[in-house]
């Protein structure tokens, strides 16, 4: 389980996180929802120790992050994390060189699933294909937790469909996934849990099926309620 406990952060004088708490379970898809500037990406960065926090604590399976933790949790930002001059094959080799948890077989499988070729240079790829390579770099790791920042933003509909398919496949099975989005419609049926953020605060954290079953509301209904209050 990933536990985010009361984390705070400032950018200069602006408070970007004002005490954010939520949890994300293994084997579930947790979605951080909020408009741009709500602090979603900052939370991801904070979980990965890619930016310092001012207060609070983040625990991954009850422990603080160390360098070894990067073998069991990974983050897929919204831009590719490899050099544009590298070929896809070189990028995969880089991952294999540095991570014990790199699963070459699965990487190969993803490569053919996404119809990508190892000889292709990253800088020559379309936006959708770049996003797929980026996804591949994270999904190829045998990690317990996978963080994705806006995996659907700014890509074509077919790439979108392919990426959605990943979420319902064995590629994500039994992992804990946290994704951020400002556009919930496409993935409403995919997520287990939603965390609604605004202005650096969690407005509501709920299980989607529970809200449907007990309150008869869709995720969007809850959002409308929470954000228009």
């Amino acid at each position: 389980m990933i536990e985010v406990k009361d984390i705070k952060k400032n950018f200069g004088l602006k408070k970007v996180l004002k005490g954010v708490s939520f949890t994300a379970n293994k084997g579930e898809i947790t979605c951080l929802i909020g408009i741009n500037g709500a602090g979603k990406t900052t939370i991801m960065n904070a979980i990965m120790n890619l930016t310092p926090i001012k207060g609070g604590e983040i625990l991954i399976d009850s422990e603080r992050l160390t360098k070894e933790t990067y073998e069991k949790i990974t983050f897929i930002p919204d831009a590719i994390t490899m050099l544009p001059q590298m070929k896809i094959g070189e990028a995969l080799q880089f991952m294999k060189d540095f991570y014990k948890s790199w699963n070459e077989e699965r990487a190969k499988e993803l490569l053919s699933f996404f119809r990508l070729k190892e000889e292709e240079k990253i800088s020559s790829l379309s936006k959708g294909n770049t996003a797929k390579v980026n996804l591949l770099l994270g999904l190829g790791l045998d990690v317990d937790y996978l963080l994705m920042d806006e995996p659907f933003s700014g890509i074509d509909i077919f790439s979108r469909e392919q990426i959605t398919e990943v979420f319902t496949s064995h590629l994500v099975e039994d992992r804990g996934v946290i994704i951020t989005t400002h556009e919930i419609n496409d993935i409403e049926h995919l997520i287990d849990k939603a965390v609604l953020l605004d202005d650096g605060k969690v407005l509501r954290e709920f299980r989607t099926e529970e809200v449907r079953e007990l309150e008869g509301k869709s995720v969007v209904d809850v959002m409308r309620e929470v954000y228009q209050r």
């Binding site: 890619l50 073998e71 050099l83 544009p84 880089f94 540095f98 990253i122």
Partner: protein, 281 residues
């Protein structure tokens, strides 16, 4: 350790194209330089002695015999060496900032590697150090070759031969090879030690900037000044109180070595802290 070696290899590969281009420029420019300068000298000698009917003695009195060290101060030598130096100094900054800027976000990858983050810094410093050593070695190989070319073009009467060591020691100014290729092993370690210390101090300043952004620039500059003051304190004391002869030269040297190690150590420790706790993507 294995990750450190892999990172050094990776950092070297990333700059290899530009680095090889630099080496190419150095080799071509210097070889062409020796040929051009030697030929120009020979043309002049021919003109003065055959057309201007100057005797050999008169010519040598007026123009002096040509030496390698005279060729060494020509633009053919100074410019490519200066270019390489400028490129490597520039690369000390670029080696960090390139990971943050642009369409890719490679710094995410680097910081998420399952390895101590200080390895990233050590690898970058090592890559720069190896590239400096590489260029110096190329120069060391080039000099005897250039010497042979020089001796083939200019006849014995019109030249004075120097050993490579003499050539190096006679060079000065911008193309001061003596700094890069000192006379003794101790000096070698002293010079490269200072170089190492400077790179680590600079890296720390860069990490200050990367951690605190605008405020970090101030921290970085202040950090560099403090490092400089610590390192230069004994020698400046020595200058101020020179009449007393405060330290023996050996003492001063040992103190500087210790201070150099301390400054480098502090830089690495501060960098380690910044990389683990403060740096931001």
């Amino acid at each position: 350790m294995r990750n450190y070696v892999k990172l050094v290899d990776f950092e070297l590969k990333r700059f290899m194209k530009i680095y090889l281009t630099l080496i190419g420029i150095v080799i071509i420019s210097q070889i062409v330089g020796v040929i051009v300068e030697s030929n120009q000298f020979m043309d002049m000698a021919n003109r003065e002695m055959f057309e201007g009917s100057m005797s050999l003695t008169q010519f040598l009195e007026m123009y002096w015999p040509l030496t390698m060290s005279r060729i060494l101060i020509s633009g053919w030598f100074i410019l490519p060496v200066g270019l390489s130096a400028a490129a490597l100094i520039f690369y000390c900054f670029f080696i960090w900032y390139r990971d943050w800027f642009g369409k890719n976000t490679f710094i995410y990858r680097l910081l998420m590697l399952p390895t101590a983050r200080i390895n990233i810094l050590l690898a970058k410093a090592s890559a720069i150090f190896l590239m400096v050593l590489g260029l110096v070695s190329i120069q060391l190989i080039l000099l005897p070759i250039e010497n042979i070319i020089f001796q083939t073009i200019v006849p014995l009467d019109l030249r004075v031969d120097m050993t490579i060591r003499e050539v190096i020691n006679s060079s000065n100014g911008f193309a001061s090879l003596q700094m890069l290729l000192p006379n003794s092993l101790v000096q070698f370690f002293a010079h490269y030690g200072i170089g190492f210390m400077t790179v680590f101090t600079l890296f720390t300043a860069i990490l200050f900037e990367r951690s605190y952004r605008i405020k970090g620039i101030i921290f970085g500059v202040v950090y560099c000044i403090i490092a400089l003051v610590i390192f230069l304190l004994p020698s400046s004391l020595e200058m101020v109180f020179s009449e007393f002869g405060y330290f023996y030269p050996e003492e001063l040297f040992i103190i500087e070595v210790i201070l150099g190690i301390i400054v480098t150590g502090i830089s690495i420790w501060v960098s380690h802290y910044l990389l683990n706790r403060k740096v931001t993507v």
